[in-house]
């Protein structure tokens, strides 16, 4: 790795690091600390192949690793996920005026990791259906159906929550 490679890697981190971290937080749904760890892990892989990939869309490469790792982590730690994503306890009364945004994030976290990844890429990153499909290595049809099903689930759960609150 040349000095030029090293400097370019630092520039890449400064420019894209935060965006990768935010994607990881939204997709893996783990704690901030775990998400940072995951991004570090992904970036180590990027660093390993940096001289080869730096001129060939390193961001897409890094993002694919982050997404794959975030989905795997969410799946491997299904049990942990259940804690972070557990519904508000039915046993304790929830404040009925729970912030809408908190509720949306909680419902997002309850979705299967891959479905969540589709929603994050489509609606937060504003990626096209084609770009989302390429990043996740699935078909455009699958992106369409996952996005529609994800939104429908969130909508349905929010309606239930509203009825309970009433």
């Amino acid at each position: 790795m040349t000095e030029d490679d090293e400097a370019a890697f630092d520039e890449f981190l400064a420019a894209r690091g935060t965006s990768l971290l935010r994607t990881a937080i939204l997709v893996c749904g783990a704690t901030r600390h775990d998400s940072e760890d995951l991004v570090q892990h992904a970036l180590e892989k990027v660093y390993r192949h940096w001289p080869r990939i730096r001129h060939d869309n390193p961001e897409a490469y890094a993002k694919k690793i982050v997404l794959n790792a975030a989905i795997s982590l969410a799946r491997r730690r299904k049990i942990i996920r259940e804690i972070s994503f557990a519904r508000p306890p039915e046993t304790a009364a929830d404040p009925p005026d729970l912030d809408l945004r908190d509720t949306l994030i909680r419902e997002l976290r309850r979705l299967p990791p891959k479905m969540r990844a589709v929603l994050v890429l489509r609606y937060w990153e504003d990626q096209s259906e084609t770009a989302t499909a390429a990043l996740l290595g699935c078909s455009v049809g699958s992106v369409k159906s996952q996005a529609a099903r994800g939104l429908a689930r969130i909508r349905a759960n929010m309606t239930v929550a509203e009825e309970v609150a009433r």
Binding site: L13, N68, K78, P89, W124, G137
Partner: protein, 308 residues
């Protein structure tokens, strides 16, 4: 406002404060050096393994050497074994892998366009949702079949309802909890293996939603050995809990033991209070830095009694 716009706003707000730490570049390079060192250490073992497999390959049936004339090509087409791809969609990853191996095909797990390099644990029980090439196609033996593992159905997050102070659940009672911890008001069942298993957690009141400080897992019958097996075989400290041997370690990413006291590890203890009943307690690593984690884990463990 449409729900996707509301969701986009919520996501933007949720991560608005998240920035990469200033020393990220250094951390990535440090991690890289550690990995290179570890690979070098493993190098010698790999060379030995390569020599060991080279022999059966050399003794195996010689493959046709791609003849130049028509007869040669024809014979190569005859010699190469073609197989019909079996249908493995709907099977567990473990089953699908076995069936493909029996058909002389290789299974590789893919997700997000990437090969999953550590298809273990949960994944083996996941159900295959997609395969490529599809069933019924005729392909050469030894070809890779890509499998996309779906998710195993998740357990009901509120499996056990209102547990009061949460100290009695899943067939055990906790006699001791560190000061300041209260029941996290959630529970799950069917968390590991085919037998009965449960989990719940305790945290400090006011902890951010989704946090936990101490989580307890209980596994009965066939699930008990599986819970015990979550602790890596070597490297854990053996401690005495009520006359039974327990394993205690700081775990990084659930499967790697790091030194006791390390802030990247989750302090974890697992043991069988009686035969056929396994309990695992883990302490969230930030909380662990605030207390005497090892002493507290042992005290919680010693306070646990089976209630059935």
């Amino acid at each position: 406002m449409k729900i996707e716009d509301q969701l986009a706003d919520a996501m933007a707000e949720h991560v608005a404060g998240a920035e990469i730490p200033p020393d990220l570049g250094r951390a990535v390079r440090r991690r890289h050096r550690t990995r290179v060192l570890r690979l070098r250490m493993a190098g010698a073992a790999l060379v030995t393994a390569a020599v060991a497999v080279a022999v059966p390959v050399a003794l195996g049936p010689a493959l046709p050497a791609g003849g130049g004339d028509a007869a040669g090509r024809q014979s190569s087409a005859v010699v190469t074994d073609d197989v019909i791809v079996p249908n493995v969609v709907g099977m567990t990853v473990a089953e699908a892998t076995r069936i493909l191996r029996e058909s002389a095909l290789r299974a590789v797990m893919y997700e997000g366009g990437m090969e999953l390099v550590e298809p273990e644990g949960d994944l083996a029980r996941s159900v295959v949702t997609m395969q490529e090439p599809a069933a019924g196609q005729q392909i050469a033996a030894g070809t890779v079949v890509r499998l996309d593992p779906g998710l195993t159905p998740s357990p009901d997050p509120q499996a056990l309802g209102d547990l009061g102070d949460g100290r009695e659940f899943g067939g055990i009672r906790l006699g001791y909890l560190p000061d300041g911890l209260v029941w996290g008001k959630w529970s799950a069942d069917k968390v590991i293996g085919p037998g009965k298993s449960y989990t719940t957690s305790f945290d400090e009141p006011g902890t951010m939603q989704g946090g936990y400080d101490v989580q307890v897992f209980v596994a009965h019958g066939e699930s008990a050995p599986q819970l015990l097996a979550t602790m890596p075989g070597k490297g854990a400290t053996v401690v005495d809990v009520g006359g039974r041997k327990a394993k205690l370690a700081y775990l990084y990413r659930d499967d790697e033991i790091v030194p006791i006291g390390s802030d990247s590890g989750t302090p974890t203890i697992v043991w069988e209070p009686r035969d056929g009943l396994a309990v695992q307690i883990r302490m969230e690593r930030h909380y662990a830095q605030k207390v005497d984690a090892v002493a507290e884990l042992k005290k919680i463990a010693e306070g646990i009694r089976a209630t059935r």
